[in-house]
Amino acid sequence: MTARTGASLRVVTNPQPPIVPSALLGMLLFLFTELMLFSGLVSAHGIARGSALLWPPPGQPRLPVEETALNTAALLASGVLLYFSQRAYRRDRKSAQPWLTATIALGTFFVVFQGVEWVALVGEGLTITSSTHGGFFYLIIGVHGLHAVGALLVLGMNWLRLRRGVLSQSTFAAGQAFWYFVVGVWPVLYWRVYG
């Protein structure tokens, strides 16, 4: 009833600015799907691990937990740098550039470090077919690595736009969301896969 009487009284006002800008909302929806992808992978890994008698299976090399801890720190640090880049962007757009450069550099370091680790592990006999342990390791870490590369490409495009002075707040926010996702999901993967 109230809706009915209210309907005739309503005055059309100018639309409010959207609560979440479109570019960021689109990215968040994409990341929500990806979050469910990682949930699927991690729970599948948990089931395989939970039903195995020994984990990692006998005869399989152990994962480089300590080295990866260092790499985890590098990745988390890149997230912090990106936060500072955003803060600098709000004050003065140009001053965000060095922070963003550092973020991308640390992110690239993370991906390269993972690649070097993979080469070493393959040398030690852990391959995608050597056991479910190896299969899940390369699958989950590989999917994360692909997301890291994708997010770095988006940040790279942001970097170019920033240098040309055409980087909008919402586009930058979408790029940041992607990188924060890559950073944020990693500790869970590190805990579940390496731990």
Partner: protein
């Protein structure tokens, strides 16, 4: 990706004299993308119907040469049923109901000129088309198309020595994966456009139910598809790289695939149900000239259904060796989900009650949707209860049950939407007599196909058998008669679709001009010209009220368009 599109958005308008390619194949216009999805979906639907024809002929007349196909071998049969299911769900129900209607209706009903990311939208269809081509290509590779059922359970799907389709099964997975990317991109557009691009004055509760339902369906799809993509990658690796994720010999678990598949597979039912039931809401309010009963309740019910749909998946796996205590939990959640769905049906009946009902073609489709879907829902209770499911599992009872849900959704829902919005899409009225003839033949034959299959299933007829002559208990007498009845009904139904295509053709040529608002409906798409041009509205409309203000007591007209100031 999505980020780059925003700034270029507005440049897309204003090019009016494009060439054929730009206009029909490379368009970013949401209406053209709707037609692309719809034509592809209808073409795939004809293919899926042809497959049903081939294997139903084999079941009714085992061993006979099927006109247009030839002899159906066991491998053919497996491939036909697998791809019939896959095509009807992923390449008919999804593209027509969500992608085509979502694309057409969301910008028009929310009163904006196009999707927020038009180029992402174009990419969505292109990936979808590619996925259809990959699926079609899989029929022509060595070993033929995938034959491990649309659920693709390993080890049948993962080992070529069991499936006998070394390439077909991988191409099938790739096609399904590409299709998911297409719908993810489409869904991002649907949600973002509905949230950020609505007409001035349109509040959340002024959005038409069908738009809300497509948005909720898109979000359900996004939430459920991730685990299946994870499973699909693992299955693809099992097939091609020799990993053993689902192989007990190598430390894997075959039931794991079933969990990943059905975690997606069950919400998927609601992903396609919600747009269809939303289309029904628009039609019954328009043709009963009544306000939708309890708009907010319907909306909240749909959200509740969506949430509950994530808790029911293991009712597909009662015989897969899951813990019986677990089965109890899933039985309870499955029976619970019938409550919100039943509530929606009650709400629709309450909307119809006391209305001035016009029984034209779209209304007949909408009403039949409610009643046919109800049969699907009621028979689902037997399957949701783990005790009776153990008897019914993998019989034709299951098959008839899900055809009573999917046929109303994919076929009745699509015809309801097409006949209702045909005047808007084409500017011409559809012939109502031909429409009703097509409706009645389709509905009667539909029931004649699947009621016999309920009976056969209850008598113990197993699903995955290509020739019942090998099973003396199931072969002769009344059981074979029912099989022949179902097949003959299918033949009549397929033939009756000619009436629909003829009707479309004749109405496009000779149909009466529709005008902007032939049904005297309220929502904003009826403000736009029929068919809407590039940019949809001459002037973007403002919105003053909800979409269901029919027969308002203070007004002479029995409708009150959303854009009309008080």
């Amino acid at each position: 990706m999505a980020t780059a599109e925003v700034t270029e958005h507005h440049d897309d308008h204003g090019h009016h004299d494009e060439g054929f390619v730009k206009k029909y194949l490379w368009s970013t216009d949401h209406k053209m993308i709707c037609f692309q999805y719809m034509f592809t979906g209808i073409a795939m639907g004809l293919l899926g119907g042809f497959m049903a024809y081939a294997f139903r002929m084999q079941l009714a007349f085992p061993g006979a040469s099927v006109p247009g196909w030839g002899g159906v071998t066991p491998a053919d049969y497996n491939s036909l049923v697998t791809n019939h299911g896959t095509i009807m769900i992923f390449w008919v129900a999804m593209p027509v109901l969500i992608a085509a209607f979502g694309n057409y209706l969301i910008p028009l009903m929310t009163g904006c000129d196009d999707m927020v990311f038009p180029k992402v939208n174009r990419l969505s269809f292109q990936i979808f088309l590619l996925s259809a081509i990959v699926l079609l290509a899989s029929f022509f590779v060595e070993g033929g198309g995938f034959g491990g059922a649309w659920t693709a359970y390993p080890p049948l799907s993962s080992k070529p020595e069991y499936s006998l389709t070394p390439l077909g099964s991988s191409l099938w997975l790739v096609a399904v994966g590409l299709e998911f990317i297409a719908f993810l991109l489409g869904g991002i557009n649907f949600v973002t456009t509905t949230m950020n691009a609505r007409a001035k004055g349109m509040r959340l509760y002024d959005i038409p139910i069908v738009v809300w339902f497509i948005v909720i369906a898109s979000i359900l799809f996004m939430a459920s598809v991730g685990p299946l993509v994870a499973g699909a990658i693992m299955l693809l690796f099992n097939q091609n790289l020799g990993t053993g994720f689902f192989d007990p010999d190598k430390g894997g678990d075959p039931v794991l695939w079933q969990h990943l598949f059905w975690f997606f597979g069950h919400p998927e039912v609601y992903v396609v149900l919600l747009p269809a039931i939303g289309i029904t809401a628009e039609i019954i309010t328009t043709f009963a000239r009544k306000k939708l009963f309890a708009y907010k309740t319907v909306l909240n019910t749909a959200i509740a259904t969506g949430v509950l749909s994530f808790t029911v998946w293991a009712h597909h796996q009662f015989v897969a060796g899951i813990d019986p205590r677990m089965a109890n939990v899933f039985t309870i959640s499955t029976l619970l989900i019938s409550v919100p769905v039943a509530e929606m049906i009650f709400v629709y009946i309450a909307t119809l009650y006391g209305g001035k009902i016009t029984l034209n073609t779209p209304m007949l489709w909408a009403l039949s949707f409610i009643f046919e879907f109800m049969i699907g829902g009621v028979t689902g209770i037997f399957l949701g209860a783990s005790g009776s499911d153990i008897y019914f599992h993998d019989t034709y009872f299951v098959l008839a049950h899900f055809h009573y849900t999917f046929f109303p959704i994919a076929i009745i829902g699509s015809f309801a939407g097409i006949t209702y919005w045909f005047p808007k899409m084409t500017g011409k009225m559809m012939n109502d007599t031909l429409g009703k003839l097509h409706f009645w033949i389709t509905i009667i034959t539909f029931n004649l196909i699947f009621i016999p299959l309920f009976v056969l299933g209850a008598a113990g007829q197993h699903r995955r058998i290509y020739n019942y002559e090998h099973f003396p208990d199931l072969a002769g007498g009344w059981m074979q008669d029912l099989r022949v009845l179902a097949t003959v009904a299918l033949l009549v139904m397929l033939a009756a679709q000619v009436i629909f295509f003829f009707n479309v053709f004749i109405s496009l040529r000779n149909g009466k001009k529709a005008g902007n608002n032939p049904w005297k409906a309220n929502s904003l798409e009826w403000v736009a010209p029929s068919p809407p041009g590039h940019g949809n509205f001459a002037e973007l409309p403002n919105c003053y009220r909800g979409p269901y203000e029919y027969s308002h007591p203070d007004r002479e007209d029995d409708y009150w368009p959303q854009n009309e100031p008080a």
